[in-house]
Assembly symmetry: C2
Homo-oligomer: 126 residues x 2
């Protein structure tokens, strides 16, 4: 196994906040059994992106894809994440690192969310 | 038109951050042409939930569903939002207000996100 995916979430004080992200991580692992898949956080939760990357490098991963589980691109993805990625590239020059777009850049996911809004709001009034 | 949906997002300093939420709002309007659908924010962007609710009440909405466009339930949804909703209920006792679960509470959306992670991470390595 040489490919890794790090799901990158914001983090929060309430530990229950991480539950949907842990569920996504389990589902991606199940869909991609030949890829090392882990979850990491920008702040308030661990592991950090730095720690999670180190763990994958130790496990022999040479190609890393960072997938931001953020709804939209604001300062965290446009400013904070590039700084973290630059630091990782300096620390692990042999590691290939790709960063994907965010959830809200996917027309398919926006469509799925809009459908969900319709269903959940209809349920709430019955 | 007496039913309204308010899509409730966090807000950010970067105006581009709101774009996916505006797109979801347009899509929900298209899917639900008989419902008044608007977007509002917890902080850093306008309108606030309070202002958006007032606008809907002025337009004659009597049944409001608030749909949090948050990935997961942390302090903003467990603590901040209930305070805002209590305040709205006191201000508009004639308005029925429902609050739905968050995106990450939907197994279907978690599955769609996991599928998207697989597609987007495969694209990033080709």
């Amino acid at each position: 196994m040489t490919r890794g995916i790090l799901l990158f979430a914001h983090g929060a004080r309430d530990p229950r906040w991480a539950e949907p992200f842990r569920e996504i991580c389990l589902r991606v692992r199940s869909l991609q059994p030949t890829v090392a898949v882990d979850l990491c956080f920008l702040e308030l939760m661990t592991p950090s992106l730095q720690q999670a990357t180190t763990d994958l490098v130790v496990r022999g991963i040479t190609h890393l894809t960072v997938v931001p589980l953020f709804m939209a691109q604001g300062g965290h993805l446009r400013q904070d994440l590039p700084v973290l990625i630059d630091s990782l590239r300096a620390q692990y020059p042999q590691l290939t690192i790709h960063v994907t777009t965010a959830l809200g850049d996917s027309p398919e996911l926006l469509g799925a969310i809009a459908q969900w809004v319709g269903v959940i709001s209809a349920q709430s009034t019955t």
